[in-house]
């Protein structure tokens, strides 16, 4: 395109009817003012939208926007003042209805006005930074109606009155409430909060303060919580029905504070119905309710947890130190398991498996189980009882469940090495007397212990099982190679590896000649196949089955210990034997001999021997005869089975001592390990490191550790630093 064309291009101004009439603006405004009046008087039908729109458009176009706008403001204001009077005049009930009706009218009118004045809304208002029509209408309503002195407080009081009536059980017009509240919300959140919500919360707080005081005087804990829950749900429902959703959190925290937080200690410790009673009576529903309500307030759950923990520790401590309970270890452990089950189910059902509560439970159990130093022994006895007879006929899954529960208790023990010692003893007795109910159950428990504590813990136990198996094979081999022995007494030998089995010093015992010959044959057979080994007979751990015929011809099969067998065999060659004679012949040590004679002569139903005199105790001068009048309804009679019992005092001391002895090398090993890697370490850190390493097995005593350190220093494993006496150095 050339420049010339550009020059000739002209745009004509749009030809519009230009008004020169000075009163034009007034005339136009009059039309609009009239229209607004008609709209407010519900007389708008018949008005021409187009005409009004055009008039407003023209006013703005001809720069009379200011006049239009201010005219609008004053017209609306005067209408609103009239409306305000009519609302004030409304009596009683109809006050809110009138307000609601007028509000709806106003909104409708406002929309119509805005539609007509759309052009001004879009052009004049933004460029002159005025409030848009709709917002203007709301603001004018707010200023002239809501904040009018006569209406403001009356509105608030009416609303609060209605809420109060609903709280006391009356039914109110919720639709009307919703509309009024919505009106306040539409006017802006500042209006809603200042003119309603703030006061609503204050009044509610007052109301609930009074109500909670009333309830707590007359209700017990469970009832009170029910009421509190009900009120809380009511408030939430109230919000959904006719309040702003944002108010929910505010009103619920008011209720929580007044009804729950302020009365928490009193509720929890209430006599006869507080938390402790609920725990004792397994009141799952009440406990669940308490959990849900307290969860909402700060420190709520903490309070529950603390009370539960202290109660549990108290109960546990009583359980564990009650002398009555201590008489029966199996019962003792069963009670512990029952207590654990009870609380597990409470935490599960009422506290929704909350981890912090589980931890509190674990801590409490750890605390009181270890208050009784005999807990490891008792747990082992419990397992022993179960494996001997308790698990007979129980399904495999149930067996697993019981063993898992026992493992849980085991975890709480601090002195796991004590448990190991007892368990070994009891296991040995079970294996040797062949009294275990289920091999699978035994092995299952070993596996669980291995998972828990590592290979070291269970290696010896597994060794014991291996020995039993190997012995079976050895016996088969022995009889296979000596077929001529099939006629005589049957010998069953268990060959035990010394390291794996609990050591017991064996005492002297003269076996009857038939037996000793057989034993020698076995010894030579065994040493023939296994060179370089030494066999020593543990006569204190064996048993024997003997066939006996008594005076009247009654035959019985007797199951006796080895010692008892030796004593009885003597009576094959003698009618009467004195205590001294028996002692000489058998060379069994006195206390053992007395015990075995007692069980054969003084126990009803097992008195295969007769003693003169018939006293309970064995005296040096007593004489013994075979009891020809012996009778029993059973063919097989068991005498003197070696059952695992809880230890007597001296035995207990002895075991404890052995445990302490065993701990010394373990502490030393840990010390050396730590020092070897650290090279230099100070006293306190060393103690804490050692404790940490050993805590899986037991809790070492710091004084003991100190002694071990001294011992290591003497043996030149460690040395003290010359300058800092608290520092230790490793000597390679």
């Amino acid at each position: 395109m050339s420049n010339q064309k550009k020059r000739n291009f002209q745009i004509e101004a749009f030809k519009h009817r230009v008004v020169v009439d000075p009163k034009y603006a007034d005339k136009t405004w009059k039309v609009l003012e009239h229209a607004i009046h008609e709209i407010y008087n519900h007389n708008a039908s018949g008005l021409s939208f187009e005409e009004l729109y055009r008039n407003a458009y023209n006013m703005v176009l001809h720069k009379f926007g200011e006049k239009l706008y201010s005219g609008l403001v004053s017209t609306m204001t005067s209408h609103l003042k009239e409306i305000s009077k009519s609302i004030e005049a409304a009596q009683g009930e109809s006050f809110l209805e009138e307000l609601n009706r007028k509000w709806n009218d106003h909104n409708k009118a406002l929309q119509m006005i805005r539609d007509i004045l759309m052009y001004m809304d879009r052009t004049y208002i933004p460029s002159n930074h005025k409030t848009p029509v709709h917002e203007l209408g709301l603001n004018l309503w707010r200023d002239n109606i809501i904040h009018s002195s006569k209406i403001q407080s009356r509105l608030l009081n009416t609303l609060l009155e209605l809420v109060h009536r609903e709280r006391t059980g009356e039914v109110i017009d919720r639709g009307l409430m919703r509309n009024i509240i919505k009106m306040l919300m539409d006017l802006g959140s500042a209006v809603y909060q200042e003119d309603f919500e703030k006061h609503f919360l204050e009044v509610s707080a007052e109301f609930y303060k009074v109500e909670s005081q009333k309830f707590i005087e007359c209700c017990d804990c469970g009832e009170y919580l029910k009421k509190a829950e009900k009120r809380l749900n009511e408030e939430i429902e109230r919000v959904t029905h006719y309040l702003d959703a944002k108010s929910e959190i505010k009103i619920t925290s008011v209720v929580e504070k007044e009804m729950i937080a302020n009365h928490m200690p009193r509720l929890v410790h209430m006599e006869n119905s507080g938390l402790v009673n609920m725990l004792l009576d397994d009141k799952y529903e009440d406990l669940g309710r308490m959990y849900n309500l307290f969860r909402r307030v700060p420190n709520g759950l903490l309070t529950i947890r603390e009370v539960m923990t202290s109660h549990l520790r108290e109960t546990g401590k009583q359980l564990v130190t009650d002398p009555e309970r201590l008489k029966d270890p199996v019962e003792f452990v069963q009670r512990l398991l029952d207590e654990k089950d009870k609380y597990d189910s409470i935490i599960n059902k009422a506290f929704s498996n909350d981890k912090t509560f589980q931890n509190a439970l674990t801590n409490s159990f750890e605390y009181f189980i270890n208050l009784n130093a005999r807990s490891p022994e008792f747990i082992s006895l419990f397992v022993d009882d179960k494996l001997r007879k308790g698990l007979k006929g129980v399904s495999e899954e149930d067996v697993e469940i019981i063993l898992d529960k026992v493992m849980m208790l085991f975890r709480y023990l601090q002195e796991k090495d004590v448990f190991e010692k007892y368990y070994k003893q009891h296991l040995a007795k079970r294996l040797l007397s062949g009294k275990t109910v289920s091999d699978d159950a035994e092995r299952s428990l070993i596996v669980k212990l291995k998972t828990e504590c590592g290979y070291q813990f269970t290696s010896k136990l597994e060794g014991m099982f291996t020995d039993m198996k190997t012995s079976q094979d050895t016996m088969q081999g022995f009889y296979a190679s000596h077929p001529e022995l099939g006629e005589g007494p049957t010998l069953v030998v268990q060959v035990l590896t010394t390291g794996s089995w609990p050591t017991q010093p064996s005492s002297t015992c003269n076996l009857p000649s038939e037996m000793s010959a057989l034993c020698e044959k076995f010894r030579s057979y065994y040493l023939g196949t296994h060179t370089g080994r030494r066999l020593s007979w543990q006569t204190n751990m064996g048993n024997a089955d003997m066939k006996a015929t008594f005076g009247k011809g009654q035959k019985h099969e007797l199951n006796v210990s080895t010692y008892q067998m030796c004593v009885l065999m003597l009576f094959n060659n003698a009618e009467r034997l004195s205590y001294k004679e028996i002692e000489q012949a058998t060379e069994i040590p006195a206390p053992e001999l007395k015990r075995c004679l007692q069980s054969m002569a003084c126990v009803k139903g097992k008195n295969v021997l007769r003693k003169e005199p018939m006293s309970k105790d064995i005296g040096e001068e007593d004489a013994f005869f075979v009891n020809d009048k012996f009778s029993s309804k059973f063919y097989k009679v068991k005498i003197g089975t070696v059952v695992a019992q809880k230890e007597s005092e001296p035995e207990k001391q002895e075991t404890r001592q052995r445990v302490e002895e065993d701990r010394k090398p373990q502490i030393e090993a840990a010390l050396v390990r730590i020092m070897k890697s650290r090279r230099v370490l100070d006293h306190n850190n060393l103690i804490s490191e050692v404790t940490k390493q050993l805590q899986q097995r037991f809790l070492p005593n710091p004084t003991e550790i100190k002694k071990r350190i001294e011992s290591l220093i003497e043996r030149d494993f460690l040395e003290r630093d010359n300058v800092d006496r608290k520092l230790y150095r490793y000597l390679a």
Partner: protein
């Protein structure tokens, strides 16, 4: 088309253009006129008079409405020149 779906636009000279409501509502102003809550005359009779708009202009406006409707839904496909 049924009567309820149409609206009559009347020009300054008195020409009546009967078009569908949907087309007329392309204009926000006409939309407000017809849907405003008050019972304005326009909505009641279904007629809108434009005393200041000439017939030729009004005709063009109606054409614009229909053109706008036609291409309201599709995005970039060939839009005819208006």
């Amino acid at each position: 088309m049924r009567k309820e779906d149409t609206v009559k636009l009347i020009s300054a000279e008195g020409f009546e253009f009967v078009i569908s409501k949907e087309a007329a509502m392309v204009s926000q102003t006409i939309r407000n006129m017809l849907t405003s809550p008050g019972s304005f005359a326009e909505a009641q009779h279904g007629e809108v008079t434009f005393p200041e708009i000439s017939t030729t202009i009004l005709e063009k406006i109606c054409q614009y409405f229909h053109w706008s409707l036609q291409y309201a839904s599709c995005h970039m496909t060939a839009i005819a020149k208006f």
